[in-house]
Assembly symmetry: C2
Homo-oligomer: 184 residues x 2
């Protein structure tokens, strides 16, 4: 006889629900994410989820937050050009892992603490690059919008026939121009 402290079926909480949802979306696509399928994966009935995520929309919102939190934190050890490149690389990788969830990033401001940190890293990089303080918000909006659109286009299928090498070159070309423009 042993003490079943954390035993029986998986204790269910919000984090575990979102983990299961993201895994399901990755394996079988976003359409396969239903209250019932997520619950099934956790060994619980669909109605048990409502306490933790509100409803289906709340589950999807939580999924977007989880994705935001997967983005790499900015590394202050890097010079600003490398920090910009790390950011675009991180976005593209997240988009490739979760193409359908990634598109939902367009639907609301990235307001999670981790997302603020990532944005802060972009601010720092742009400041280091010489962008004046009062131009930072605008520069951040424009640049992150481009990076997001690029990663979304690549992962969701808009770039269709183009291979990764071409897209890498596109981005490298743009980043060189950008860095020239910033340094001037």
């Amino acid at each position: 006889m042993y003490t079943p402290v954390m035993a029986r079926h998986v204790s269910i909480d919000r984090a575990r629900i979102l983990d299961a949802t993201l895994a399901l979306a990755e394996e079988e696509g976003l359409d396969a994410v239903t209250m019932r399928s997520v619950a099934g994966r956790l060994g619980v009935t669909p109605m048990a989820l409502y306490r933790y995520v509100g409803d289906k929309q709340g589950l999807l919102d939580g999924l977007v937050e989880r994705l935001l939190d997967e983005l790499p934190a900015p590394d202050p050890a890097l010079e600003w050009p490398d920090r910009l490149r790390a950011m675009s690389r991180g976005l593209r990788e997240a988009a490739r892992r979760h193409p359908e969830v990634f598109l939902m990033l367009f639907r609301r401001p990235a307001a999670t603490p981790q997302a603020r940190r990532t944005r802060g890293g972009l601010y720092d990089a742009l400041r280091d690059a010489g962008v004046p303080e009062d131009a930072l918000p605008r520069a951040e909006r424009l640049l992150s919008t481009f990076y997001l659109g690029f990663a979304a286009s690549e992962a969701a299928g808009r770039f269709g026939g183009h291979d990764t090498a071409t897209l890498d070159a596109d981005l490298a070309w743009l980043e060189v121009r950008l860095m020239e423009a910033l340094q001037r």
Copy 2:
């Protein structure tokens, strides 16, 4: 006694189905678009749609095509800076009209004849701006990606708190820089 040439219930065809679907999406949101609701709006049973759109996914694909065909054709009478501005304006307006459908543009290449014409107009504008022939595809991909991401962010909610004037200014700022860079 009169001749009911075009009478009874609306004769149903693919174009009319997509019109009804787009109107429904605009009025009640994309979630309200179901095979049943579209059919109901046309006075027909859901099963009647299958002949024309294949299935639900085919209906949504058709919706994206309809949206692409709403984009304004490039006006060759305009100078290239005005043609670029007309393009971003057209994209933003389309996104505002159909925010949810607009996001689906990231999912596949814009391959409709009208979309090719629009892309051709962007090529022409960039060529007029002095972009060398072999750099046109890359320049077009990068610029249209930015415009698409910007319009999607604005319409779908990512820009959240920012008002139209701020976003207009963002875009104007970028376009001035872009035109300077191109003219150099």
